[in-house]
Symmetry: C2
Subunit: 282 residues, 2 copies
């Protein structure tokens, strides 16, 4: 992934150099790469060629990296530490961080249009609109808006879930569906299994994030810990308490693993990823 992203991002020397340096800074050398790994895992289950998966996974990761650069800005979460490094606007400046995020989003769609990712170009157009929809106002950006508006209010577990389905879930589902779309057409059972897997994992991802934010140190996380409670944000830890949140995440993990049974052996990586997402320590 590091190599693919490094190749797909404009070189830091290309004009405008500062913008390209910021785009590379926001994307490279950091993060768990959970979305790209999920994209590869789903692709492997559908016998997709690695060179296609590199592009699809990079597009998803660029959308994720852009969202982090914007979320960290002073007018949003106002954070100074991300992936163990100063956030983009701290390392560069606010205007450059804003533009780097904007340009990363453009680049994600540029590479999705530019490379051959599916045998049928019409299916590839559906990949474009599915990633765009996951990133947009009814997906990730919409979830972020709901999150901002909820700050200081307490949310029920159901309201929280509706927020996270958008904020984190939509892009994780897109990672899985884009990976699968790079390969052979799945059977009906595989398709609905994969969809259930992605839904469970998207939610589990956020539940675990909330637990880690409450219980881990800034050094372990590579981003500011304890931020949610400090900002008065509703989380699964405040809605359920930490022990029940952890139980909930583990239920989701088992559900996700059961859902991809139709893939048999070829679903091994998907099962590993369910373990990784829920059992991770950072």
């Amino acid at each position: 992934m590091e190599e693919a992203l490094g190749r797909l991002l404009p070189a830091a020397g290309v004009v405008p150099a500062r913008l390209h340096a910021a785009m590379r800074y926001a994307t490279l050398e950091g993060g768990k790469r959970a979305r790209p790994l999920l994209c590869f895992a789903a692709g492997e289950a559908c016998d997709a060629p690695a060179e296609r998966l590199e592009i699809a996974a990079s597009a998803v990761e660029m959308i994720h990296a852009y969202s982090l650069a914007h979320d960290d800005l002073p007018c949003m979460d106002d954070d100074v530490l991300r992936r163990g490094k100063p956030t983009v606007h701290v390392e560069f400046d606010e205007a450059t961080a804003l533009l780097a995020g904007d340009a990363l989003q453009s680049l994600a769609f540029q590479i999705l249009g530019e490379h051959r990712l599916a045998d049928d170009p019409a299916a590839q157009l559906a990949m474009v609109s599915s990633l765009a929809s996951a990133a947009g106002s009814r997906g990730m950006a919409g979830g972020q808006q709901i999150d901002l508006e909820a700050t200081g209010r307490s949310l029920s577990a159901i309201e929280l879930e509706s927020m996270h389905v958008r904020k984190t879930g939509a892009l994780i589902r897109a990672a899985v569906s884009l990976g699968a779309a790079c390969g052979r057409a799945p059977t009906q059972a595989e398709r609905s299994g994969l969809d259930r897997y992605a839904k469970c994992l998207g939610l589990a991802f956020q539940v675990v994030d909330d637990v880690l934010d409450a219980e881990s140190s800034t050094a372990t996380l590579g981003k500011t810990a304890g931020k949610d409670s400090k900002q008065g944000k509703a989380t699964y830890v405040t809605a359920l308490d930490a022990a029940r949140a952890r139980e909930f995440a583990d239920e989701l993990r088992r559900d996700a693993i059961a859902a991809v049974a139709p893939f048999g052996e070829r679903g091994a990586r998907l099962r590993q990823m369910a373990d990784f997402v829920v059992l991770r320590k950072f």
Copy 2:
């Protein structure tokens, strides 16, 4: 265009309502619609169906509207007036303006992927990557970065042109090329004529903007006048003086009109648009 944009944007009542209201506010009821009109003019020259052009033109205008919402933010140009109304972050708030811009960019690519715009889906994928490239770090966002870095320095006419080719020119060229791509394949003479037309008009658009910024009132423009010189920005008026800038724009207008001669009668709207872009008073 107003009707098409109104239909393609999520309704203001859809959750998250405040974000959707901001996206509609940023896009509807305002602006000259120069890019959509150029898209339609190029499409008409290539016999493209109106229902395809509505989508392509809306996608281009959403990219333009997103860029204005972001450019007006305090960390960028910090402006309070646009299209005769308070800017998005003044009417809503900074975080909502940021997310509305982000989500408008996503929506542009979503609609490009979702609707049938070309007989060949592979050609439609090329439309996606061409709009993305025009919007991105080597296009519009890159031009904005160069503009920010140039503030307070004086630029030569050649440096100015290199900035504006990206900042304004790239999206105007995309508007023309997307419109044409919705129709029949142009001949070689038509294709190169259209490209020269778009290059001339993109540059003329910015030259005229600079003249109007220096010579018109805020009331006429619907945005803050005299801003460039106040912010120490290099413009065609500072690089050439106003009279020579106006002459330069008129040369570009005549060049643009000559370039689309191969279209004959069907190029009438393209010629009208060259007049509109250069002779406009706002």
